[in-house]
């Protein structure tokens, strides 16, 4: 019989978060971010946290909400270009920032979830990213050693999910969510649609429930678009 991960809502789902913890947050830009969990972290006022997330949201949405309240001590990201408050806090030294290549970020999260403590990658060789890291040649090409990332909590957002914690993502909202789900000691999944057990085709599940500790039906998704680019209808 399937192991149920279902909790009543975002408050139960976020129980146990504490000051100083490390969080992973899925999403790319504002696409596929755990909106409900972020709002709950704002409400809880948890402080001095380290956030591992590809981006830092925008000034008043996504992780920008936590930055506004100075809740974040350190960000581990690959691209933070859409957030003025972020840039201000970083340049002033209020916020510690570890910028790492996007592919290394994704792979380090996967490694953390997969019990691979470290791996070699060519990305970042000869750059600031390689400082203090072991360099080794493979096939005559230099690579740097990158270590696994894990977190106290991982917050992910899926399109559909069931009580066993199985998740399906939609289109490019998948992005970092599956790897972060693997790497959280406690992984909290919020879903747009909670479906009955047995509804999801076992062949089409992106994140197996074994990686998810808590799941709940999210609500009021804004799903804000950062760059609305369109073709005119009469084209």
């Amino acid at each position: 019989m399937a192991i149920s991960k279902l909790v009543s809502g975002v408050e139960t789902a976020c129980m146990g978060v504490e000051d100083g913890m490390t969080f992973m947050l899925g999403g790319f830009g504002l696409c596929g971010i755990p909106e409900n969990c972020i709002e709950e972290l704002v409400r809880l006022g948890v402080k001095d946290v380290t956030c591992i997330s590809n981006n830092a949201g925008v000034d008043n949405f996504g992780l920008g909400r936590l930055l506004q309240g100075h809740q974040i001590r350190k960000m581990i990201s690959s691209y933070v270009g859409e957030n003025d408050e972020f840039e201000r806090q970083m340049l002033s030294g209020e916020l510690e920032v570890d910028l790492i290549p996007q592919g290394s970020l994704a792979e380090r999260c996967r490694a953390g979830g997969a019990g691979i403590p470290a791996f070699y990658t060519p990305a970042g060789f000869g750059t600031e990213v390689a400082e203090g890291k072991e360099v080794r040649d493979f096939d005559g090409k230099p690579h740097i050693l990158e270590s696994a990332l894990t977190s106290d909590f991982a917050f992910v957002k899926a399109w559909r999910g069931d009580e066993a914690g199985n998740l399906v993502f939609k289109a490019t909202a998948r992005n970092f969510n599956p790897m972060m789900a693997m790497a959280g000691k406690i992984t909290v999944a919020e879903v747009e649609e909670l479906v009955p057990l047995g509804t999801l085709d076992p062949n089409e599940i992106h994140t197996p429930g074994i990686f998810v500790q808590r799941i709940f039906q999210g609500d009021s998704y804004e799903k804000r678009i950062e760059q609305r680019t369109v073709r005119p209808l009469n084209n």
């Binding site: 790319f28 696409c31 596929g32 691209y79 270009g81 790492i100 290549p101 970020l105 790897m179």
Partner: protein, 217 residues
């Protein structure tokens, strides 16, 4: 002299039938508009799509379907969505054959800088470090000089690097330039641009062949 669309038009000529291509933010994104009809090319965006199509028609934007520039896009028949680890497996594993990206500086040894101006601007490298460390064929799309009129083709980069010895070709508003043996090699002139114009706008060592054809756009 070319505008941004002109640069994109010239770079589109670098794309070969049957290639998987990653286009960076800015000028590179425009390259997709200049691929000849009927050419079989698939665009990969590192946030998790292969088979990226044009922008959606007004009113059919989907917040869950964007490219790496966070722009709303569409998916063509045969498209695939995947997670970020798989996306960079494609990139790092050299399955993506051509990468086009912008730069703030390029050196005559093929180094590239495009992610940080210390103390001033820190946007992050995004996927650029993975891309330049991996792709077999890396083409830089940029203006030949910066806003202050200074050359962006240098003997050595002054800004923090994105990658070393990786850029093979640069297409600017003035010229097509190859990088090999520690020097820039002038390949083509933009329409109406003289060899002398290019020479004076290039700070790094520039090898000029006897004959420099004008781009055929």
């Amino acid at each position: 002299m070319l505008d941004k669309n002109g640069i994109a038009t010239r770079i589109a000529q670098e794309v070969q039938d049957g290639q998987y291509v990653n286009l960076g933010i800015g000028i590179p994104t425009l390259v997709a508009n200049h691929i000849p009809n009927g050419m079989n090319v698939e665009f990969q965006s590192e946030n998790g799509i292969l088979g990226m199509g044009p922008f959606p028609f007004e009113g059919s934007e989907d917040a869950d379907l964007i490219n790496a520039g966070k722009q709303t896009i569409t998916a063509l028949p045969g498209a695939v969505y995947f997670d970020s680890a798989t996306s960079f497996a494609m990139i790092r594993g050299r399955h993506v054959q051509l990468t086009v990206l912008g730069a703030m500086e390029v050196s005559s040894t093929g180094d590239i800088a495009n992610w940080k101006i210390p103390g001033k601007m820190v946007k992050g490298m995004g996927g650029a470090m993975d891309l330049v460390a991996s792709a077999d064929n890396i083409v830089v799309a940029m203006m030949h000089t910066n806003r202050a009129g200074e050359s962006k083709l240098l003997p050595q980069c002054s800004l923090p690097l994105t990658g070393v010895a990786c850029v093979k070709r640069v297409v600017t508003n003035l010229a097509v330039i190859d990088i090999k043996d520690g020097a820039f090699h002038l390949v083509e002139r933009a329409p109406g641009v003289s060899v002398e114009d290019i020479k004076s706008a290039t700070a790094g060592k520039l090898i000029i062949p006897d004959s420099v054809p004008e781009m055929n756009l």
